[in-house]
Amino acid sequence: MALCNFWGKLVTVAGFEADDTLEQDAQLVQQCLQGDGSAWEELVRRHTRRIFNICYRFTGNGTEAEDLSQEVFLRVYKTIGSYRSAYGGFATWMTSVTRNLLIDHYRRTKRDRITDSLDDAMPVVENKESAGRRPDQQLLLGELSHQVQTALTKLSPELREAVILRDLQQLEYNEIRQVLDVPEGTVKSRINRGRIELARILNQMGVRPS
């Protein structure tokens, strides 16, 4: 319950800050449309890390994430004239472009991947025992990040993108609905199932809860 209250407050603060960010993004987009190169540079600087994280968390591969990030920005650069603030925030629109590219990439490379299935036997993570011997919290976060990444790649794409957008990118349900272009009920259902699946995968991997 304390977690829910904290999350509620965080969302409220994030919402207040997000309004300011929305306005700044809208202003930069207008300047870009007028040919201001420095405005585009600022947009790239503000969103590179976020887009890279979405791509990396979805693909699990740093090189692919880098290439996909560049593709995202190239597509945004070419189609920025079609962006309308009535569609929502610029960040949401950019996330939508990212998501579409990721799905296209996933379908192109589907046959090259090993089938992910919960029925497959999963190896116990070797560092389960060694994690307890490492007092450095930074190292633990690094291991946890790796373990979460491994578990994420075992989720289906629909559940994976829902969990990434909600729990790693802290998007609101309304924004996720716009990105995925599905009803809000479907968004909630995918997030719920994604979380439960992810928790079960991590338990089967032998990852202890924090």
Binding site: L3, R49, N53, L141, D167, N192, R195, L202, P209
Partner: protein, 235 residues
């Protein structure tokens, strides 16, 4: 209506995100408190959420933004050779750097001036901390002494002026303002030709005492004033 495990699982995220109504939350808690299967599920998903929210954003590759800009805006013109070494000069023209540099120079000038550093005949020894401290200390004492003397001088001049003004306001005859006294006799005492009133006598004594005090404080002023006052007393 009592919820079952399927309903608990279906509304688990709503519960963790605080989206249940109070009645729904009561039903949820009532079932979870008594269900051995739902407790570990709730705990594992709750822990998962706290783990996910504790994850830090992964830093992007350092050149990613640069590559993106090259891809979109086109390759940047990179100066090669010895000219490339001066590319940092462009940063100096940024307003932020210029403001900081001006502030820094102004602060240094003020500190050097206050420390007594001579810009016409600069010496390296003047920059030593000990010399700077001594100079600053000496300057501070000088300023304090001068201001104290100035205030004291003002006070004395004001007192003299106020006394002289009071002198001029008294309605008595000029001869009776300062009682006539024979030389050698005590101030205030007369030679008997014309008796001085007690008030005039006290006033004469007061003026005499004040002149003595002033004389100690300002020798120059007293040298100028005394002849004038003494002349009036002797008349």
């Amino acid at each position: 209506m009592t919820w079952n495990c399927e309903q608990i699982e279906a509304r688990l995220s709503d519960y963790l995100d605080g989206l249940l109504t109070p009645d729904e939350r009561r039903e949820f808690d009532a079932h979870v408190n008594d269900c051995e299967a739902c407790v570990p599920l709730l705990a594992s998903v709750s822990h998962l959420l706290s783990d996910l929210r504790s994850l830090e954003a992964i830093p992007e590759p350092p050149r990613l933004a640069y590559d993106i800009l090259n891809l979109t805006l086109g390759p940047r013109a990179v100066k090669k050779g010895w000219l490339g070494g001066f590319s940092w000069v462009r940063l100096l023209t940024s307003p932020r750097f210029a403001y900081s540099a001006v502030s820094l120079v102004a602060t240094a000038l003020i500190i050097l001036t206050a420390s007594g550093f001579s810009f016409r005949k600069p010496k390296l020894a003047d920059l030593s901390p000990v010399n700077i401290y001594r100079t600053a200390d000496r300057q501070a004492h000088l300023v304090y002494a001068r201001s104290t003397k100035f205030v004291s001088d003002l006070r004395v001049v004001y007192e003299i002026q106020s006394r002289l003004n009071k002198d001029n306001e008294l309605p008595t005859e000029p001869e009776s303002t300062v009682p006539q006294s024979a030389p050698g006799k005590n101030p205030g005492s007369t030679d008997g030709t014309k008796p001085a009133t007690p008030r005039q006598q006290n006033r004469a004594n007061g003026i005499g005492r004040e002149i003595e005090v002033l004389a100690e404080e300002i020798p120059v002023v007293s040298l100028k004033l005394c002849p004038m006052l003494l002349g009036r007393r002797l008349q």
